[in-house]
């Protein structure tokens, strides 16, 4: 344990500010508003808690890592804010139930508010957070992590709400079943709960987690902050860092929203501006921005990242803050290779989201310098 602590680096309030932006970008509109999470993380730091991020390679093969995050509708997490110790209650209940001691906490989903939850819970528990996650972005469902895709069984798991209710999911026959049952339970608990999954071994995590997620998200946030300070184009800074493309600029002319099976499903119509004048674009939203079409043609599709930014500030806009008349830039960022295997595409490819007619054509991968 002592060597794990030494390998970790400590987060400052400035890192949390950068993480808010970076997690927002990687959230592709979903994963909950990182602002609320940032405030909670900041309050935890100010209360004297220490947040440490542990490089993945510092993890021992036999170490037990618990991945956790919020589950529910973003709109609700924005209004019915958490009690605050849901994650800690999950972790402790899971350790007690399975009689083990966690060496570190891990992140389910680096995109959105779920980037913050592991840091807050780990800080309260006196543990580090491993520098990796299960998505490298945000996805709407739990079975969509690389952990689940590559064979980890996420049950037994524990779900907690602000009231103090603790629910244990003993066994799910598939990861999708776990998701379905958890989703039903979230609604009963008021629509925004916290869930900790069964522990993974260090060996599994090092092989199948998306590596370096916190470093990446904080670096991305810093790139935007620095570009804005230097009055440079933050959109170009993001593309440069992540090997992405600026695919559209426009004004939102309509948003249809409806609920389907517990998800906020929406369609945004965008009218082109600047160099895109005369073009019409369309984004399909299911908690995250999933498909980007220009003039009817699919240009970017999940699992690659469709990122929506405020055209001027370069700050990410979450799906629930999207409004009529907003001026936005759309970016396409390539996802990690772990999300592009046949196994992965079966779970998080276009067909898995109800678009069997769309064939996934990967964006050119990020160039490694």
């Amino acid at each position: 344990m002592a060597d794990l602590k030494e390998a970790a680096w400590t987060l400052t309030e400035a890192d949390i500010d950068a993480l808010e932006i970076g997690a927002g970008i990687l959230g592709t509109g979903g994963g909950g508003n990182p602002y609320i999470g940032k405030l909670r993380a900041r309050e935890a730091l100010r209360a004297g808690h220490v947040m440490r991020v542990l490089p993945m390679e510092a993890l021992g093969d036999e170490d037990r890592v618990v991945s956790l995050g919020g589950i529910g509708a973003p709109l609700i997490s924005f209004e019915r804010i958490k009690e605050g110790r849901e994650g800690l209650r999950c972790l402790r209940a899971l350790e007690q139930r399975l009689d083990f001691t966690a060496a570190a906490v891990a992140c389910e989903e680096i995109g959105g508010q779920n980037a913050m939850e592991p840091l807050i819970t780990a800080a309260m528990a006196g543990l580090p957070v491993v520098d990796g996650d299960g998505m490298g972005r945000a996805f709407p469902e739990m079975q969509m992590t690389t952990y689940s895709i590559y064979g980890h069984s996420s049950t037994p798991s524990v779900m907690c709400d602000p009231h103090g209710n603790v629910v244990t999911f003993d066994h799910a026959i598939t990861e999708k079943w776990h998701e379905t049952m958890a989703r039903a339970c979230v609604i009963a608990q008021g629509g925004a709960s916290t869930l900790a999954s069964a522990p993974m071994t260090g060996a599994f995590f090092k092989r199948f987690a998306i590596p370096g997620s916190y470093t990446q998200a904080i670096g991305l946030g810093r790139a935007v902050m620095e570009a804005r300070q230097a009055h440079e184009d933050p959109i170009a800074a993001i593309c440069k860092r992540e090997g992405g493309r600026h695919v559209f600029s426009g004004k939102i002319k309509d948003i249809h929203r409806h609920f389907r099976g517990g998800f906020n499903v929406g369609e945004a119509e965008i009218e082109g501006l600047d160099g895109y004048r005369g073009s019409q674009a369309h984004i399909t939203i299911q908690n995250e921005f999933l498909v980007f079409r220009r003039d009817g043609e699919v240009e970017v599709v999940v699992p690659d990242l469709v990122v929506v930014l405020d055209l001027d500030s370069g700050l990410p806009i979450t799906t629930e803050l999207l409004r009529y008349g907003q001026r936005i830039a759309v970016l396409a960022l390539p996802c990690h290779e772990l999300l592009r295997s046949e196994d992965a595409l079966a779970v998080i490819g276009p067909a898995a989201f109800g678009f069997p007619e769309i064939e996934y054509t990967p964006l050119p991968a990020k160039e490694t310098p």
Binding site: Y35, I36, L39, R40, E43, A73, L75, I76, F78, E79, R80, I81, K82, E83, G84, R85, P162, H163, G164, I187, G190, G191, H231, H256, R257, H258, F259, G262, N264, L273, D274, D310, L311, D312, S313, L315, I317, L321, R323, Y324, G325, Q326, R327, I328
Partner: protein
């Protein structure tokens, strides 16, 4: 024919204009006074005299003010507020005002209370309202001399009953306490809505005094026409509304100056620079309307979810200090502010300001030009270059395309603007100095619908169309002309998992004020 009186009460100046239909008959600028009222009276008398119209011929008065925004920004004249949130055990990790700047929180007393109560998204109670705790807070409010309360319940935009119940209990304990409910002000998003409610509560004494001062100034000037105040989206509200909801005036200043600039020039797409004494506000006009900020907007360091123009401020104005040498010149952000007419060289003072540079270089004729005749021409050139560079950077930030749209310079300090900024032509309309007051005078009438529709058996489009029709009728009933109506807000939030597929629809329609019926 319609005669409108537009007044803009800023931090430094109080401007007044009289418009006959689309013609500006007169425009004057006077200093804002400590009591607000005498500054308005002076401006009123001057503009009526200059326009040469009969007082009782004036049909309507529109007033724009940055008074309430400035109070928050400058942290003054704010009442201590009891910020009461109904939501425990949820929300405990982030108490009210958690994201406010420390000094502003201290200014309103930092009285944050979290109480059991609030609703879940589906209408269940998070907890029953802790009525005993509300009563206890009531006694504490009395003991501590807290002047107002703001009550915010989780999910009150969907169900405001608990906020109302808490208010009624509080009033039993403190009968005269002004109470603001978050559901009256904002939408989903607890922290932003709660913050707006708290700021609003802290401004209630100031708004009562200010509206009284407006009333008295108008009555003493013998004006008996209806009087409206402009909101942040460029539309009007009645005096009673501003008394209860002063936060709705936030950012109305930039909105008025941009709409005034569009009106005075007839240009619909432009960058507007409003140069005051200390700062320059820069924003973009699109189709005659200020471009709206798409992210949350800070007011005095607090996040709000009001609809506001996207305005960028830089520290350059007519009173900005000019310091250093031609090789190393500094212009602003320090300014002599409202003391310009005493401290600038051309007005007999000994501080070198940007106004002195404008006079010395022949760009403007104010004060005594001889007082600046001895300034080193190299210093003048360097200062002019610096001013142009500051403006160019600000304009570039607001520019949205390479199209060569004009820059419209308004505000008292616009004598500083060169004839071109970068590759863009600068327009300086007549009456540029009082564009704010013109913007107030031409403010629009709005109609709004914000309620829950059941989608059962009908489409979303049907419901939106019905809401739009209702909002339009309400705008027309308030005096808008039908041909000018435009939708500025259109939002629907499905109320998740509710039976009957309910959705909350918010539509706001605006239009130009039509002719008044005689009598």
């Amino acid at each position: 024919m319609v005669l409108r009186l537009g007044i803009d009460v800023g931090g430094t100046n109080t401007d007044a204009v009289i418009l006959r239909d689309r013609e500006v008959l007169a425009g004057v600028k006077r200093s804002t006074t400590e009591d607000v009222m005498s500054g308005i009276s002076q401006a009123l008398e001057a503009v009526i005299a200059e326009a040469g119209v009969e007082r009782d011929a004036i049909d309507v008065t529109m007033l724009g003010t940055t008074h309430f925004t400035n109070a928050v920004i400058e942290r003054r004249a704010l009442d201590p507020v009891a910020a009461i949130r109904l939501g425990l055990p949820a929300t405990a990790c982030l108490p009210p005002m958690v994201d406010w700047p420390e000094d502003l929180r201290a200014e309103v007393g930092g009285h944050a209370y979290m109480v059991r109560g609030g609703f879940e998204f589906d209408g269940r109670e998070i907890a029953a309202l802790d009525e005993a705790e509300i009563r206890r807070i009531g006694s504490e409010i009395t003991e501590k001399g807290i002047r107002a309360a703001a009550i915010s319940s989780v999910f009150s935009p969907i169900n405001r009953e608990m906020e109302e119940r808490a208010r009624d209990i509080l009033r039993e304990v403190c009968p005269d306490l002004p109470v603001v409910l978050s559901s009256e002000i904002g939408r989903i998003g607890l922290l932003e809505r709660e913050s707006a409610a708290i700021m609003n509560a802290s401004l209630l004494s100031l708004s009562a005094q200010t509206v009284d001062a407006f009333d008295r100034a108008l009555a003493e000037a013998g004006l008996n026409c209806p009087f409206f105040v402009t909101q942040n989206d460029g539309t009007l509200m009645g005096a009673d509304t501003v008394r209860r909801f002063p936060v709705l005036t936030f950012a109305s200043g930039p909105t008025n100056s941009m709409r005034g600039a569009a009106f005075l020039t007839g240009v619909k797409d432009a960058i507007v620079i409003d140069i005051g004494g200390t700062t320059t506000d820069v924003g973009a006009l699109q189709h005659g309307f200020p471009r709206q900020a798409s992210t949350v907007v800070d007011v005095g360091g607090v996040r709000t979810n009001f609809r506001m123009p996207d305005v960028f401020s830089v520290g350059l104005g007519g009173g900005s200090l000019v310091q250093g040498s031609p090789e190393d010149i500094q212009v602003g952000p320090k300014s002599v502010g409202y003391r310009l007419t005493k401290e600038a060289r051309v007005f007999g003072g000994d501080t070198l300001t940007t106004t002195d540079i404008a006079v010395a270089s022949g760009m403007a004729e104010v004060g005594n030009a001889e007082a600046v005749a001895d300034i080193d021409p190299a210093l003048i050139a360097a200062a002019k270059e610096k001013i142009a560079a500051i403006l160019e950077a600000a304009v570039e930030r607001s520019r949205v395309s390479p199209d060569p749209i004009p820059v419209i310079a308004v505000g008292g300090g616009s004598i500083l603007a060169p004839d071109r900024i970068g590759d863009l032509e600068v327009l300086r309309p007549e009456n540029f100095a009082v564009a704010n007051a013109v913007g107030a005078a031409i403010a629009q009438i709005s109609g709004e619908v914000d309620r829950i529709f059941a989608l059962e058996g009908r489409t979303r489009e049907d419901c939106l169309a019905e809401a739009e029709r209702e909002a339009s009728e309400s705008a027309v009933a308030s005096g808008a002309t039908r041909e000018t109506l435009a939708v500025i807000e259109r939002e629907d939030v499905p109320l998740a998992y509710l039976p009957g597929n309910a959705t909350r629809i918010h539509v706001k329609v605006v239009g130009e004020m039509g002719a008044f019926q005689d009598g």
